[in-house]
Symmetry: C2
Subunit: 317 residues, 2 copies
């Protein structure tokens, strides 16, 4: 959990009691911030401690690394889920023609945008992608969904759990469903909110699916790239500890995109802590659910192998 | 979609116009009923037509067949999803300790019960399974979840989308979220309802995940058994058409459970139409989320290969 100033003293005491001199923290931006604050507290206390972080987040929003382990596997799940839900909705026809998939991603649209990987034609899902980097317009959303529904008899939208309208997080018009001990409030999900909106406007049933933590934990969907790199990064972190590095995070540096070659490097925790790597403009999806070839080239090796063949095996009537 | 009496005349007219003499219908109990009614209408009209159905439903509730293609793949997904969500909730600790997974299954608990496949110890998910065959008790549910939460710091429940309390479908106290053109009403899901209940009673955050149609369409989770059998059943249906069978459904007959041997047979549509194969008593989960070894033996070959190894690779502190 997030460290508070009062946590530091017992934490240092525990490290000292066991004579722990190397601390590896695995996680995202918050974990980098945690690593930095522990390192600073140890220095102030004149306790020799090496803090070496490892990147791990399905959000893929850590700066100074090409990508973070965890992302490839979650992206593999979401890309297949979107394609599959599309074919399912197409087959179900009027009984269940529209579906919204709510995807994780706190601040960035890396994961939601991966849903476009298998989209080759206008007919394929997704027909709209909502990401936190772009102010969400209910009108644009409805136009995309209605167009797809009228043209193909079904429509699929993918939205990040934290998409924002001009007024704030979507669905926050209602009171929170739960408030935790820290005072953090949890609100109705945007998937639920948008599903109601579609049913009211179009008068057809709109499902919404929320794979939740399934998208980051399904054993069948582990990316082979993720699995190999996570292991390799762990080995590198140990090497870095042996060569007396401190206050750093292990990073992945892509050197060749076509053949996917990479090396492992490091960055200072203070250059990473609390920062967010947003989805760059040229990777963002358009309003019909397409993303760019450059994003697909970036994503492809991270998905691992095998990649499924989605060419149609027969022509639809 | 469901056939209405008025659909029969245009349907027969279309069959005649194209001189179609064999009709294959792929689906569940409703599809068997459809096949039967088309066959009867053709006979009444003295139009020679062979109707040969093929079983296909993730609900696995077709009578007179050992199982139905589709079930193994969805069961593969749900078994892994439950195990993974359990390990995820365990790792998240107090931030997100309880999770409810809402699983498909209209009348039967075959799919929800598959969630117990990887459970080996009391600690492993799931800690409760709710199925349509058993009247749902909020008290039993809360006791199971609270016990797991107190003992292990986290808890996972799996519930069928159509679990029923003594008063009717769970969550039906509220008005329907949508009513379609046929007058079918769609209600708030039991996962949402139970999640609210847990948060109110235990004062901790309770997620609920709804994989929805993802559970029946994720390419990575296709069971190898399903894929092979679906193809084989298709070939058999053609053979049956050639040998002039009529008003039948192709079935799978398991001859040896230990080695998983089966043969392909057939049943009369009138013995299948509209009937439901409920989960038998000796396959039902107990109140701690375990099911019987006999169910696991039944399920194992349907999940296909490979089966993941879930033995812990290190001891928890």
């Amino acid at each position: 959990h997030k460290l508070f100033p009062n946590d530091m003293e017992p934490l240092l005491k525990t490290l000292k009691a066991h004579n722990i001199r190397v601390l590896h923290i695995i996680g995202g931006n918050d974990s980098a911030a945690t690593g930095l604050s522990v390192s600073e507290a140890a220095r102030a206390d004149k306790y020799e401690l090496q803090v070496i972080n490892l990147p791990k987040t399905i959000d893929n929003d850590i700066v100074l690394t090409d990508h973070s382990p965890g992302y490839g596997s979650a992206a593999r799940f979401i890309s297949q889920a979107t394609f599959g839900v599309g074919r399912d909705a197409e087959a179900m026809g009027i009984n269940s023609p529209i579906c919204i998939i709510e995807v994780m991603g706190r601040d960035s649209g890396w994961l939601a945008t991966a849903s476009s990987f298998y989209k080759k034609t206008d007919r394929d899902a997704p027909h709209f992608i909502g990401i936190p980097e772009v102010i969400f317009s209910e009108e644009s959303f409805m136009i995309s969904i209605e167009n797809a529904y009228r043209n193909y008899g079904y429509a699929v939208a993918v939205v990040s759990e934290k998409i924002r309208s001009g007024e704030g997080n979507l669905g926050r018009e209602n009171p929170p469903t739960f408030t935790d001990a820290f005072g953090h409030s949890y609100f109705e999900s945007p998937g639920n909110y948008l599903s109601d909106l579609v049913e009211k406007r179009l008068g057809v049933r709109c499902r919404w699916e929320k794979p939740g933590s399934i998208q980051r934990s399904l054993m069948d969907a582990v990316s082979t790239t993720d699995r190999e790199e996570a292991y390799e990064l762990g080995q590198k972190a140990i090497e870095m500890a042996r060569s007396e590095m401190n206050e750093v995070i292990v990073t992945i540096i892509r050197s060749d995109n076509k053949k996917y070659q990479y090396s492992i490097g490091s960055a200072n925790l203070k250059d990473v802590a609390g920062k967010i790597k947003y989805l760059p403009e040229n990777y963002r999806p358009n309003e019909e659910g397409y993303t760019s070839d450059s994003f697909k080239s970036y994503l492809r090796p991270l998905l691992g192998n095998p990649i499924h063949d989605t060419e149609p095996i027969f022509n639809l009537l």
